[in-house]
Symmetry: C2
Subunit: 182 residues, 2 copies
């Protein structure tokens, strides 16, 4: 068993918040005793959609793409990078750990053939919007976008943006506030 | 001039939200006319702490570190990666674009000599906590943490976590919710 307080301690929040958050997904745990670790783990995996594998295509075989491809915690959780695409002729025809790097012109064919549901978009800002549109039109349901640009896509396509510069700016903002207080 | 509606359109929010957010940083713009682009840009840079450069050390010269080092939008905004540190003897002594890769044992010396205020931590989960503690003790004020672990640090050290697996899980969660609704 694990208490909401122990979970809160690990997550950097309060026990009350943990109980509130978990209760929003249904009835969990036993009052005064906490949560059974195994059922809680199973339920959280279910909530996160991790009870089945996801076919993922990586678009952009640059440095960020390379780092993401090698990131061990994607495969752990059932995210399978089944295709890598790029526009650079010097990269096309190569392979990363056995997965060939294909011409991004084949995006639609790859999405169909591999039943790709999620695209990781690791391309320059200027290339992101048209590639995202093509992925969406080909049937991709979710895009993890590393390009520093807001994508405009039809309703029903989920987009999650990771903007690395914004993450650093959150720090410089906080440090500037501290400086102003002194 | 730019209107709050035009800003909202780009940011994916509402004009009312833009006005509310900006007003929390003081008096901005002219009712009915919007914001002057140049003063708004200058004020936002100020709010984000981008009116002066930041000395940054990159700890971890792996694939994520390499991608971050090459990321063009850090330098743009005044984040200068002035030092790279790693524990791998095969990497130490090398250099990325002229910046030498040094032994992480020199972390404290480097933070002092280079007046490092921000550390980007791109190391495995098991290495992150002790390195973060050392950086904090050496005077680092902010840590951008890519290790999938919650850091426990003294008050006054700002931490911003980027967990790439969590970013993909946000997508799989959303897609699973859609599936459940069908």
């Amino acid at each position: 068993m694990v208490s909401s307080e122990a979970l809160a301690e690990r997550a950097g929040t309060t026990g009350a918040q943990v109980r509130k958050d978990l209760s929003s997904f249904g009835s969990f745990g036993t009052r005064g005793r906490g949560y059974g670790v195994d059922p809680l783990h199973a339920r959280i995996r279910e909530i996160l959609g991790l009870t089945r594998p996801w076919q993922v295509a990586l678009v952009g075989a640059g440095r960020i793409g390379s780092a993401l491809h090698a990131y061990p915690h994607f495969r752990d959780r059932g995210f399978r990078i089944v295709a890598i695409l790029d526009m650079d002729p010097a990269k096309i025809g190569g392979a990363w750990e056995g997965t060939p790097i294909r011409d991004v012109g084949e995006l639609e064919a790859v999405v169909g053939a591999e039943s790709v549901e999620i695209v990781i978009l690791a391309v320059p800002a200027s290339a992101a919007q048209p590639l995202a549109e093509r992925a969406a039109a080909a049937g991709v349901r979710g895009i993890l976008n590393f390009a520093p640009v807001r994508l405009r896509l039809p309703e029903g396509v989920e987009v999650n943006n990771v903007n690395l510069a914004v993450e650093l700016e959150a720090l410089s903002h906080a440090l500037s506030l501290e400086d102003a207080r002194r």
